[in-house]
């Protein structure tokens, strides 16, 4: 090993994203060639580039492999219960409206067990950035079938191949009212970072799906090779179509993955609607929650 490389390893604290990461918790738990780390790197980069006040950024995760992300971010970080990251984050946002809240979790967590919260938060246009890492499978529990597993793909609970139709998450989010919807694979580092950067300073329910490799389970159960082979597959089969109709972006097994920014519009958020409505109805009698939270006194 050459000395220059060794020296760089020693200086992990000087890594460009170190200010955003709890370096005292490294190494992380993710498998080699897992895509989640890449997504975290892009999110951290975007945090730095977006110029947001890091003291006011909170991150909430649910449970699962991606559910561990909150635990590695040097932010006010909440590792909540399975599926409940979105309502937990809703409480944070409404309890202290000045917070910039990111939900960072996986497909099983947000689209499976937490699916109901997902659609309702989108319907309300709750002011949350939701980053969903989709690896098509329940990773942490050992490769069970997910609400996102493509038709015919194998999982440990669909050993003969999946016969359930999966969610197309951008379509679900858009049809429920999300104001920003994008999808990338973990190979699209610059584009993904740009989407995060953009979405971090937007308002409303912003949803970004990142398709990422799970080589330990999804790739192994389906004999797709290593994580690197999946990245090569993304390279060859991802098709960038900004503004695509989300009805047409469903993901079939080993089929093309339509990526891009599908929705980017402005609509009043839950809090905007609430303020406007109460001001109209109650006039001067309306006392809004303070940006820093409700009724704090010593």
């Amino acid at each position: 090993m050459n000395t220059e490389l060794q020296e760089r390893e020693v200086r992990a604290e000087e890594h460009p994203i170190a200010p955003f990461i709890r370096m005292d918790r490294m190494p992380h738990i993710w498998c080699p060639t897992c895509g989640i780390g890449t997504v975290v790197k892009c999110y951290a980069t975007a945090l730095g580039e977006a110029g947001v006040d890091l003291n006011k950024v909170s991150i909430v995760s649910g449970i699962g492999c991606t559910g561990r992300v909150a635990g590695y971010m040097k932010l006010d970080a909440f590792h909540s219960t399975h599926g409940r990251a979105i309502p937990f984050a809703t409480g944070l946002k409404l309890g202290r409206p000045e917070l910039n809240v990111t939900v960072f979790s996986g497909d099983g967590d947000l689209a499976g067990i937490g699916g109901n919260h997902f659609i309702h938060a989108a319907r309300r246009n709750m002011d949350l950035l939701v980053i969903l890492v989709n690896n098509f499978i329940y990773g942490m529990t050992g490769g069970q079938n997910a609400a996102t597993t493509p038709l015919t793909a194998r999982s440990s609970t669909m050993p003969f191949g999946n016969f359930e139709r999966p969610f197309s998450l951008p379509h679900l989010a858009a049809s429920c009212g999300a104001t920003y919807v994008a999808r990338w694979t973990s190979l699209h580092i610059r584009r993904m970072t740009k989407s995060f950067r953009e979405a971090l300073v937007r308002k409303g329910f912003r949803f970004i799906e990142i398709v990422a490799p799970c080589s330990t389970l999804y790739a192994r159960l389906n004999k797709l090779g290593s994580g690197l082979d999946l990245l090569r597959f993304y390279h060859d089969n991802a098709e960038i179509r900004h503004g695509a109709d989300t009805r047409d972006v469903g993901i079939g097994y080993q089929d093309k993955i339509v990526c891009g920014k599908f929705v980017d519009e402005e609509r009043p958020t839950f809090l905007d609607m609430m303020h406007e409505h109460y001001r109209k109805i109650l006039g001067d009698k309306y006392v809004p929650m303070l940006p820093e939270g409700g009724w704090l006194h010593e």
């Binding site: 003291n55 006010d76 219960t81 919260h117 303070l290 009724w295």
Partner: protein, 360 residues
């Protein structure tokens, strides 16, 4: 509202819904936010989230909703999040008797979420106490950083009676105490002497981490036998070791009594008549009316047990708190249930008869 609550997340459920209806009218005029969530799982999760901003938060529900909240009540206990849950109890199990009274969630309040943890539960018996005890519930949740339950029942929930609300400056309110430490020196789960840790809220630059996983004093997950022991022991002990300070009950005529009636909530009012009837038959009856049900007044039951023949425990369930009385009496006195299975209150005759039987 008087206790400083400014965030409520709820989901409609009979017979508790009047509370959120009232809050949704009042909050826009007093700087509070009410949100009707998609279910009780979400309500409880939002309450825990909001509490981490320093905004005092609560939810209101009844049996089926209480069951759904258990997951995030466990999270609140593990993360040590102050919050209040009001359960207006109805008949169960399952959908049970939605519009009719029950007291059958008492054990669920103590043990409903998985794992070892501790909570505090109060039981009001009048609209006045519903007000007073809810303020107490918020204060206790701030002091001990635990979920606190106001275990009402349908009768108290729907009762109309005079309530005196004191002026704001005469209501004792425990504010959310924020740590004075700097972000560099702050450790979210470091117990300083006592069992209760210091609190930092989201958005103040502390960049803390909290999790439902077993965690060390930094709030970092630590999957070890040693850490589990320290973490769980402390969240249980903070209530267990302070039980003498938290426990509250009304005690009457227990001196020289042959029978002590242990009672709570609406049943404590119905029991009065049964007790009077028994006294007319010449029986010496005392009363222990529980205000704080959890932690249970173990010590007092243990003290009374050798001095009485029996404890009579009327409750609107098939025997819940009576089990706790029996445990604490430890064979030194009988613990006799008077069960009404729900949908109405006891006939005082039944309570009287049980007292007379017990005195024999």
């Amino acid at each position: 509202m008087a206790a400083g609550c400014r965030f409520v997340a709820g989901y409609p459920i009979t017979p508790s819904t009047e509370v959120v209806e009232r809050i949704s009218r009042r909050f826009p005029r007093m700087g509070g936010v009410f949100i009707q969530m998609e279910d009780e799982l979400a309500s409880m999760a939002a309450v825990v989230g909001a509490s981490w901003t320093g905004t005092k938060s609560m939810t209101v529900t009844s049996g089926p909703g209480f069951s759904l909240m258990m997951e995030n009540i466990g999270l609140a206990a593990m993360m040590e999040t102050p919050c209040v849950v009001v359960n207006v109890q109805r008949g169960g199990p399952s959908t049970g008797l939605p519009t009719m009274v029950g007291q059958a969630d008492m054990m669920q309040a103590r043990w409903g979420s998985h794992g070892d943890y501790s909570v505090i539960a109060l039981s009001p018996r009048s609209p006045q106490e519903a007000f007073d005890f809810t303020v107490d519930a918020f204060n206790l949740s701030e002091a001990y950083r635990v979920p606190v339950f106001v275990m009402m029942d349908e009768c108290v929930g729907h009762m109309t009676e005079k309530v005196i609300i004191p002026p704001a400056d005469r209501i004792d309110v425990v504010p959310r105490k924020l740590t004075a430490k700097t972000p560099e020196e702050f450790l979210p789960y470091k117990a300083n002497g006592g069992c209760v840790t210091e609190f930092a809220r989201a958005g103040d630059g502390y960049k803390f981490h909290t999790t439902g996983l077993t965690h060390d004093e930094r709030g970092y997950p630590d999957m070890s036998v040693e850490c589990q022991d320290v973490c769980v022991r402390r969240i249980v002990d903070k209530v267990r070791l302070n039980a003498d300070k938290i426990v509250r009950f009304d005690e009457k005529d227990t001196k020289g009594a042959d029978v002590v009636v242990v009672t709570y909530g609406i049943t404590s009012r119905v029991a009065r008549m049964g007790i009077e009837m028994a006294r007319k038959e010449g029986i010496k009856v005392g009363v222990l009316r529980l205000i704080v049900v959890w932690p249970f007044p173990e010590k007092r039951i243990r003290e009374l047990a050798p001095k009485v023949k029996a404890f009579v425990v009327p409750e609107i369930n098939y025997g819940q708190i009576v089990l706790e009385v029996e445990r604490c009496a430890a064979g030194k006195a009988a613990a006799i249930p008077v069960s009404h299975l729900g949908g109405g209150v006891h006939n005082p005759d039944d309570i009287c008869r049980a007292i007379v039987e017990a005195a024999k």
